[in-house]
Amino acid sequence: MAEQESRTVKGNMATALGAKLCRPNVIPAYPITPSTLFPERISEYIADGELDASMVRVESEHSAMSACIGASASGARVCTASASQGVALMHEMLFIASGMRLPIVMAVGNRALSAPINIWADHQDTVSSRDAGWMQFYSEKNQEGLDLMIMAFRIAEDERVLLPAMVGIDAFVLTHTIEGVDVPAQEDVDDFLPPYDPPHGKLDVDDPATFGSFGTPEYYQELKHDQTVALEETDEVIDEIFDEFEERFGREYNRLNNYKCDDADIILMTMGSMSGTARAAVDELREEGEKVGLAKLTVFRPFPGDLLKEIAGDADGLAVVDRNISPGFGGAAFAEAAGTFINENKNPLMKNFIIGLGGREIFKENFKEMYHKTKEAVEAGEVKEPVEWINMNEEIMR
C-alpha cells in the first residue's frame, strides 16, 4: 500500500479527486452552486491529461442525468455532480437510472430548495429524492466525501447491487471549506476498484438489445420488487466494502456510526456536517455527567434500521435531528426511525428536531438544548411535542 498524499482541499475538490481516482469514462455535468467546482476540476483534469474521460456539456441537469443513463448503459463508468434545483430537475431521470440498474455516482452539494431561493446547506434536495431508488451517502467532512466517492463506485458496480448512488457534502460548510484530506494512491484505488464490466449487457449498436423497455402491468410490479429487494440487500455489501476500505486505507466507516451510545440513556441521531458539532456537544455533556451518545447516519438509503435497533434499542430517548422537513409530518430521518421501531416491544421515546434549514448555523448549544428537551420528555414519560424547530428567531416571525 503506497503512502497517502496529504492535501488541503475544498469539499468539491475532495469529491472530484475521489472521482478522478476512480477513472470515470464519461462525466456529463451542468454546473450549479455549490457544486460547480466539481465539474470545473474534472474538466481541468481532462485538459491537463490527468484523466482520460469525456466531459459532456449539457443544457440542463435533466439532460445531464439523461446522458449519464445513456453512457452508463453503454458500459461506461459515469459520474456527475449537482445540487438543489439541479437534483430536483433530474428527478424524473433518477428513477430511470435506478430502474435500469445503472451504477451512476453523483456528488451532491447538499443545498436548500426554493422558494425562497437559497444556496446554502440543508438536505432537502437529496432527501426529496429518497424514493428514487438510489443509495444515499452523507459526509461529515471532506475526507468522507473523497472516500465515499471511491466506495460508492465499488458498491454501486458490485454485481449484487447495480444501483446508482449519491454522495452528499453539505453546501459551503463542506463544498467551499478547506480541510486536510489523505488521498489514496492511484494504484491502490485501481486495485480496490476494478474496471466496470456490466453483467447485464451493454448498449451496443453492433449487438443490439432493448433498454428502457415498456413494463406493462403484467411485469412492472415484479421489476420494482426486484429493484427494491436489491437496494434493501445492499446493506451487507456496504458493510463488506466499508470493512475492506478500512483494511486497505485505514479509515473506518459505518452505515450508522456509534459514538458513545453503548451506555447512553439518550441518543442524538444526525446526518452530514452537523455531526462534528454534535460530537463536540456530546463530549461536553459527558463531562457534565450526562449519559448521551451520537448515532451518525452515513447511509440514509437503504435506511440502516438494523443498526439503529442495535444502537438505540435500549436507550430511553432518541432525538432525531433533521436538516430537512417533510411538511405535514416532520423530518425524513424521524419518520424512518419511528418506522424502524414500529413492531418492537421496546423502543426509545422519540423526538424530532428540525434545524439548519437553508444554511442556518448549527451550534453545540443547539444539541445540548435538544438533549435536555429529550431528557425532559423521558423523565415526564411522554412526548408532548414530537417535532420541534430549533434555533428559531422569534423576533422575525409573523
Binding site: G99, M100, R101, L102, L162, P199, H200, G201, P208, A209, T210, F211, G212, S213, F214, G215, E218, Y219, E222, L223, D226, Q227
Partner: protein
C-alpha cells in the same frame, strides 16, 4: 398472466422487441366491415388514430393487433358499412 421471466433492469437481450408487442390486446369492441356496402372512400383509413385500417384491393381490412376498438371508423363511415361488435375472448 405472462410467463416470460423478468430480467435485471428490464433489459431484453433481443433488439426491436417492441415489434412483438401487440397493443390491441385490451380492446373490448372490434370493427367489422360489410364489403358489399363499402364504397372505398377510405375515410376510415384517414381517421383511424392508430393506422389500424389497411387498404386492400377490393376494400379495407382491420389490423386487430393494434386496433383499440375506439369506433371512429364506424362513426365516420358514410354508408354504414362498418359496425362495432363486442369481442368475445
Amino acid at each position: 398472466m405472462s410467463k416470460v421471466k423478468i430480467t435485471l433492469g428490464g433489459i431484453n437481450e433481443d433488439e426491436g422487441s417492441s415489434k412483438e408487442y401487440k397493443t390491441g390486446s385490451w380492446r373490448t369492441m372490434k370493427p367489422e366491415v360489410d364489403i358489399e356496402k363499402c364504397i372505398q372512400c377510405f375515410k376510415c383509413f384517414d381517421y383511424c388514430p392508430d393506422a389500424a385500417v389497411h387498404k386492400t384491393e377490393d376494400a379495407i381490412e382491420f389490423d386487430l393487433d393494434y386496433c383499440k376498438g375506439c369506433g371512429i371508423c364506424e362513426k365516420e363511415c358514410p354508408v354504414d358499412a362498418i359496425v362495432m361488435v363486442k369481442e368475445e375472448k
